[in-house]
């Protein structure tokens, strides 16, 4: 164990130049703080499940639990509670459960608030087929990287005259540069061979054209990674016929939204898909993207897989690869064994039973 810590420290120090995005903070062999936001609905129970599994794997993490609810700050602007912001700024790593957005609450969605507060500009969703959970698509192994701040979701809309509405899609050079840079860095750090830019520049010549130009410019600095461009409709067409032909996909906001959910559907849905949001200043928040499922909240029926896999993604980001591999293997093996599966995966085990089984497998591996 000590050897591992020493090795990871050395690699952190020496590899800082190479692995900029994978390791952000940490002192020699010490415990890292992670802000955990349990969320609403099934959030608290799946967060507990993840903490339990991490304990059994003896991951050197200190959890700091915080809640986020929208509060009105000075000047009337909606913001997250200052304790949450402080904790996040200090630890730089967060794990978040599902947050509910009440309709007509008067404030924007919590996810949007978090995104704006920490400038979470990249949404990363690795979609890997789970061996134990069969879908019509096998051997899927791709990553969608979506620009998360602008594009079609800039929220700039107006009614020009009665019956005519205009929505503005915003593409800026800086944001496109930033996301392209992140995509290539991610590809390099995770030994990915190809980055594909998804666009519709035949129709939206200027906006997607700018995005594409920036991707091409960044690709010049990463000659070891293959760069291709593909139209959105061609990607959709080929994705449902042969998803194995894709590796890393980088795209603006709307296409990213659609494609990342499409890819999640390929591997089994939002209940088993991890997701990470990378922000400026080294902040990274990993989350489960499913809903709060209020109908099964508190009944010990929830499936913690999505949050667990997001936590594993977080471990990899922090450089704790061994722990990540151990927990991921235990999770996959449990699902594959088919004996202890939660209801949404086709079994009838409880959340606690599923969690215990994973803990047992983790400890068996030591």
């Amino acid at each position: 164990m000590a050897g591992n810590a020493w090795r990871s420290t050395v690699s952190r120090v020496l590899g800082a130049v190479k692995n900029q995005t994978s390791v952000t903070r940490g002192f020699a062999g010490g415990i890292q703080t992670v802000t955990i936001i349990p969320g609403d609905g099934i959030g608290p129970e799946i967060s507990d499940a993840v903490i339990k599994i991490f304990d059994s794997a003896q991951v050197p993490i200190h959890w700091e639990e915080r809640n986020v609810t929208a509060i009105k700050g000075p000047g009337g602007k909606w913001m997250i509670p200052p304790e949450a912001k402080e904790s996040m700024d200090k630890s730089k790593i967060g794990l978040k459960g599902p947050l509910k957005t009440p309709i007509a609450a008067g404030h924007p969605s919590m996810n949007l608030l978090l995104r704006k507060t920490f400038d979470l500009y990249a949404n990363v969703r690795p979609c890997v087929s789970i061996e134990g959970y069969k879908t019509p698509y096998t051997d899927v192994d791709l990553v969608t990287i979506r620009e998360n701040t602008e594009g079609e979701y800039s929220g700039i809309e107006h009614v020009i005259v009665d019956g005519v509405v205009q929505s503005i899609k915003l593409i800026t050079e800086n944001a496109s540069q930033r996301i392209a840079q992140f995509a290539f860095e991610y590809a390099r750090n995770n030994q990915r061979s190809t980055v594909t830019a998804v666009h519709k520049a035949n129709i939206m010549r200027m906006s997607d054209g700018l995005f594409l130009r920036k991707c091409r410019d960044v690709a010049e600095n990463y000659k070891d990674i293959k760069f291709t461009e593909m139209y959105l409709d061609t990607v959709c067409l080929n994705m449902v016929q042969d998803p194995t032909s894709f590796d890393v996909l980088v795209m603006p906001n709307l296409y990213g939204d659609i494609l990342s959910d499409l890819c999640a559907g390929l591997i089994g849905g939002l209940g088993v898909t991890p997701s990470g949001n990378i922000g400026a200043n080294g902040v990274a928040i990993f989350e489960s993207v499913h809903g709060t499922a209020p109908d099964i909240a508190g009944k010990d029926l929830a499936n913690p897989t999505a949050l667990l896999l997001s936590a594993v993604m977080m471990l990899r980001h922090m450089g704790l690869h061994d722990h990540a591999k151990k927990i991921e293997k235990a999770c996959y093996d449990t699902i594959e064994s088919e004996t202890v599966r939660t209801k949404d995966l086709g079994g009838n085990a409880k959340c606690s039973e599923f969690t215990n089984e994973i803990c047992r497998r983790v400890q068996d591996q030591d």
Partner: protein, 409 residues
């Protein structure tokens, strides 16, 4: 124009191998010829067109010149020219009374003369069959997509695609039967973009109440006509509250006038997820332009690929038929490997539009039998046949069908 139903087919014994009509129906033919002449020289040639659309179908253009229709053909780029040549071959073989007026559009030209000529030809004939015209995105923004120009100038506001699982094609999902109706003229494809300051580009997405009402109305009418039970509107109104919100509101308004059809809505990202896991739940879907692009490509991929699904672009006065996914297929051009099914099925849709139902049924059944029974498949659906082999097989089956119907008499 009444449908001249040929009383019998016979194989001509002269060197020309073609299906000809017997002498019996010639008197009927003459009557039609006079009838159509009256239509042409009566009120201006486009008298039938331009009338307010009643609740019945689109009125097809009158057949001038001896009961033969003239259809504009735009070969386009990539595999378009060769596939349209095969269509002409099949039509000649079955003696379909359609003449093609071929208009070439050079996609590399910056002047819009070519596409203007094509648009004029379509205005003249009312119906067109086209391949996809390539849009190189290295051209400046002032060079608009030719296909888009065609659609907006002719106001072809509805793009209709019918994705059906074919028994002979191996796919991951079975029993898919989805009709997709996509708004074809506005939305994200308005091509209104500007660079406010260097490095900041705005692209406008326009949604209007009139177009949304129009497409929703078309969707519900089509659903009713085809006996469909459910219409799903696809949108992203949780984020684009005003734009897609307006679209959704229009759909709901129209839905209230069709109580026999169930109406629901779904957010586009959830829709794509549902499509790859449980596509059988969808019946008819209606949506704005960009989501239509995504969903129609996903559905085409689910039923077997871009080579199988035809599409129609319909307006009040004009109809243009092409493949559903609008691919140029540059990489397989002129290699005799493209799948002719989509283009041939599109030509059958065109024949149905011209009320030449018997010819359409004959060709369509030959295509489907080639696909499902003889299993002559091109490479894109896992076979080893070439394009010409598939077309030959289709023509052979058509001949067999006509022989059988001749024997019945």
């Amino acid at each position: 124009m009444s449908m001249t139903r040929p009383a019998s087919f016979s194989i001509a014994s002269s060197g020309r191998r073609c299906l000809t009509m017997s002498k019996l129906i010639r008197p009927l033919f003459l009557r039609d010829r006079l009838g159509s002449a009256a239509q042409v020289f009566g009120v201006a040639g486009s008298s039938r067109r331009g009338k307010a659309w009643d609740s019945n179908k689109i009125i097809p253009p009158p057949a001038k010149y001896g009961g033969r229709h003239t259809v504009t053909m735009i070969p386009g780029d990539g595999i378009g020219p060769e596939l349209l040549r095969h269509v002409q071959e099949v039509f000649r073989y079955s003696c379909v009374p359609v003449d093609f007026e071929v208009v070439h559009v050079n996609s590399a030209m910056t002047e819009e003369d070519d596409i203007d000529d094509a648009i004029t030809a379509i205005r003249r004939n009312g119906v067109a069959l086209k391949g996809n015209i390539e849009t190189s995105h290295t051209m400046p923004p002032s060079h608009k997509s030719r296909n888009n120009l065609l659609r907006t100038s002719l106001d072809l506001y509805a793009n209709v695609i019918h994705c059906q699982s074919l028994p002979g094609v191996q796919t991951r999902h079975r029993d898919i039967d989805i009709m997709i109706i996509r708004e074809n003229t506005e939305g994200e494809y308005s091509s209104l973009e500007h660079e406010s300051v260097p490095g900041v580009v705005e692209s406008l997405k326009i949604i209007t109440k009139s177009n949304s009402l129009r497409i929703a109305d078309y969707a519900f009418r089509l659903a009713r006509e085809k006996g469909r039970k459910r219409v799903t509107a696809v949108h992203k109104a949780n984020i684009m509250k005003l734009g897609d919100g307006l679209f959704l509101q229009c759909c709901k308004e129209v839905a209230s006038g069709y109580p026999d059809i169930v109406f629901d809505s779904m957010i586009v990202d959830n829709t794509t997820m549902q499509l790859v896991s449980k596509p059988q739940q969808f019946d008819v879907m209606v949506m704005p332009n960009l989501y239509g692009n995504v969903v129609s490509n996903v559905c085409a991929g689910l039923v077997g690929g871009p080579g199988l699904v035809p599409g129609a672009n319909l307006g009040r006065d004009y109809a243009v038929f092409e493949t559903a996914t609008r691919n140029t297929g540059k990489s397989i051009a002129n290699k005799n490997t493209a799948n002719p099914t989509a283009m041939l099925l599109a030509s059958c849709m065109m024949l149905d539009h011209l009320q030449l139902h018997d010819y359409a049924a004959l060709i369509r059944s030959a295509i489907l039998r080639t696909m499902n029974e003889t299993r002559m498949h091109t490479a894109d659906i896992g076979g080893q046949g070439t394009t010409s082999e598939v077309v030959q097989s289709i023509m052979r089956l058509m001949q067999g069908a006509s022989l059988r119907s001749a024997a019945a008499f």
